[in-house]
Subunit: 206 residues, 6 copies
Amino acid sequence: MMIPEKLVVIAPHPDDETLGCGGTIARFAASGNQAAFETTHREALAAFKILGVARSAFLRISATMVRDVPVAELNGKIDGFIREIGPDMVLLPFPDRHIDHRIIFDACIVACRPVHAAAPKTVLAYETLSETHWNVPGIEPVFAPEFFVDTTDYMAKKNAALACYASQISNAPSRSVEACTALAKFRGSQNGCGYAEAFKVVRIVV
Amino acid sequence: MMIPEKLVVIAPHPDDETLGCGGTIARFAASGNQAAFETTHREALAAFKILGVARSAFLRISATMVRDVPVAELNGKIDGFIREIGPDMVLLPFPDRHIDHRIIFDACIVACRPVHAAAPKTVLAYETLSETHWNVPGIEPVFAPEFFVDTTDYMAKKNAALACYASQISNAPSRSVEACTALAKFRGSQNGCGYAEAFKVVRIVV
Amino acid sequence: MMIPEKLVVIAPHPDDETLGCGGTIARFAASGNQAAFETTHREALAAFKILGVARSAFLRISATMVRDVPVAELNGKIDGFIREIGPDMVLLPFPDRHIDHRIIFDACIVACRPVHAAAPKTVLAYETLSETHWNVPGIEPVFAPEFFVDTTDYMAKKNAALACYASQISNAPSRSVEACTALAKFRGSQNGCGYAEAFKVVRIVV
Amino acid sequence: MMIPEKLVVIAPHPDDETLGCGGTIARFAASGNQAAFETTHREALAAFKILGVARSAFLRISATMVRDVPVAELNGKIDGFIREIGPDMVLLPFPDRHIDHRIIFDACIVACRPVHAAAPKTVLAYETLSETHWNVPGIEPVFAPEFFVDTTDYMAKKNAALACYASQISNAPSRSVEACTALAKFRGSQNGCGYAEAFKVVRIVV
Amino acid sequence: MMIPEKLVVIAPHPDDETLGCGGTIARFAASGNQAAFETTHREALAAFKILGVARSAFLRISATMVRDVPVAELNGKIDGFIREIGPDMVLLPFPDRHIDHRIIFDACIVACRPVHAAAPKTVLAYETLSETHWNVPGIEPVFAPEFFVDTTDYMAKKNAALACYASQISNAPSRSVEACTALAKFRGSQNGCGYAEAFKVVRIVV
Amino acid sequence: MMIPEKLVVIAPHPDDETLGCGGTIARFAASGNQAAFETTHREALAAFKILGVARSAFLRISATMVRDVPVAELNGKIDGFIREIGPDMVLLPFPDRHIDHRIIFDACIVACRPVHAAAPKTVLAYETLSETHWNVPGIEPVFAPEFFVDTTDYMAKKNAALACYASQISNAPSRSVEACTALAKFRGSQNGCGYAEAFKVVRIVV
């Protein structure tokens, strides 16, 4: 259960969606459900192909746009996209040390408010290796997940998809494939799985 | 989705399970899945009949036992029961102002640890009107739910089941049927439903 | 006790002050004290008449102004208004999912700092149905009130005043009169009243 | 305003009530209201005389009793005392590093639940120098006060009353008169007073 | 800097000290400082030999004793031990899902209060794989570390020491050597090290 | 131990660095280590001379610049400065009621991320009297320190340095020398020192 029919993933930067929930995307894509995936960048297409995503659409917000566009315009873009796709599950970035993640988190939460019938029933925040864990405990929110997806059978696909973002990954050793695999192993150990991806629940309505 | 096949509800006192999640029990029971419900008291049978529970089993821990029994013995009883039933979802009381709720919460969390294959995949804490909201903000944990079950179509059954506990309910005006209905209306307004029951997610593993 | 002589209510949008503390305004107005009420909009006049407010003044900050005006200018306007009125109690919006509420909360907290003799002795934050409860638990602040005003005898006036904002209220079913009444009933059940309005204490100096 | 007619102060050990709220007791006693003060020990009589308390009553729970008595019996004693006095304000210890403070806090919160008409309308937790500030941030609750009583004119009485507990005070340099005065100065600087005592609001019902 | 001269590690169960801070023990032992290590069990001797601990002493509190002994007696034992050794650094277990960890945490915090000149200047809480991460977010304290020890060069020793506890480790796959290594890799990625152990700061006095 | 070789202090306004950590600066300066101190204003030179700072450098960001400059430019300036100095310890302002403190806190945390070998190993947030304690408990982060520097022998120097900022200090009675001394006395009482300065740990890597 909890396998969505239409999934939307909001990723402020190329690679965020694969780092944070590549295994989950691959597992849900493999479930045979019709899936519409979304991210901010077409560069994700290569990664999506590896992850098995059959259908995808893109929001096209550039990183610079995130910070320079008025809040109302950004909110409108994301809100329109979510209404157009009509997902039952949305995965969005945890509001961490990267200011873009905070801005996009805010815009997504506004767009996902349960104010119309098509609002997504499940909204989850994913962790982005390194940035998420640079929030200051006791001052800023800590990523303490209560929702886990067993991605044991999808780690190979996730790592292959990460390779599509070679430049970003190699520029940031704190988000190496090795560190990413270690995090998945640790998240798995929290709930009896081999490997897992972890999420903070924003809202689930059954 | 998220409709469990086997549900276990742990209730320290008669009426806790109906106050906290009577509508949810009724809705899941109506889903046609095979359901094994559990509570600490046989007095719940009348309420369960109204809620539509087909099969039920009881743990039989008396309220006085909760406080007087050594922790290890209490943990062992609850752990044994959960392993015997093998539920995919467990609903347990939020650790609030009633010390019995705290003791049972602790024992349930230990019993639900993901240390064996049959551990429940979904563990949620329900609110118990009045007691849950007497925790002191800033000192004790606050019930801030992120999981909601739409119980609009099951409020009549819930209220009828509450009537089975007439003595307890009338002794405590802060948990009247009227207050209980108001809480459900408020929880519904948080997520676009007519009426809802709210839960704090302990752990969901997909 | 705790009945203010001069009350200031800061409301970013028409209806916020009635939704959040209409019953409290009516009760304090009925106490016979001289009262100076304040909000951002003259549209509140019809509602204030019903609530029994004898004297009122308005700050006149438009909703669009809230987001577009430099922080220093907004702070200056609110600070000047509060110094001019000299209230002993200020009610301000909880910093919730609506960005205007966050901006106004910040400006009010700065204006209410105890840096001069006329600073208000009691500062409380009110909840705004739906928006306040869309903050994400574990990431954003949760509205966990510790201050309650018994509004049992003033619910009729509050509901009548809400009717003055018919367009806003009907546009947002999550803030219907029915939901608003349910919330008041729930808040009352927390502290032994029939109906109540709830507040988070910012500061009380005796 | 906020001057109580009948005040109950619960103090697990001799000196706690003077350390935590001696200035507040003196100020409220000086207000001319009829006052019934309570603590656990008759040793407080000398201090109470200095603070100006006209009438007092004592609960007589010994420190060893706090830890050894069953919870139900302790709760019953405190509940009975509060019902007998019928205070409109109760001051109780913050649940800090001293286990007795935690046990008494729990018992007081249960006794102060708003379940009957005579329940106290204002319930506040006071800080006990040193112990309160040895709770571990991020793990245990932090004393972050939002309620302040200006005790500038009562510091002399407080310090004189502290001298009645010479043995306890001199045994613990971290709670010296000098440190106690510094804390009052710091609390005063938070809200524009010369000296103040600080409290965490448990519940205020107006 | 921050290399202690005398280190005390409090471990409720055999293997806790190696799981939580085996690399840190090995690194500090290798620094050439005189070191006095402490744990509750002589079984730790084999592990300590591998970790390079030159001198050690043991407190000898059995696991059953932790839960059955009166609080005052347990506190006295730990307090006496710490005063006898006089460490400048104490590592103690985070108060997590294992009730023994909570009891020992409480006793250690009391023993480490800065009430005498020989009190330890640095007090840190370590994480114990699996148990620490079964605390419920939003209800129980979350382990959010701000202190990291680079253990890259000591992982081989740590893993060898873990092998001394083969029975415990194999009984709990959630605390396998593989999971333990993954956690160290993840903690390293948080602060630019290859591998690290993480701690929550209780108190550091310089 | 924990005495830095190169210390950087970031102060949004003249006097912040002396109010928050003047004693610490004086103590570290007296340790004989080579020290490079930094603040935003040359006005600090007189204070630094009294505190015994041998070498200093200044970042030169004006207060108005803090709010008007794009985030990326401010981050770049602070990042460049920290890389140029290469400190092993950075002291930065707690993100409190003053918006400049929040902006500078954010910029400093980004600049101190452990993404390169020269990143500072110890990062601490200091409290600024009055502003830090005007954050609203339960809504905004509370300053709950776990790191203390014994400044007993350096209070005279600190107070002399504060006198260099006579205009600012006298304009704000809530940050008088008397209040500042009381805070230091209180912080000392928390950890067995005569006087102390307190810090929130952002990150320590050993």
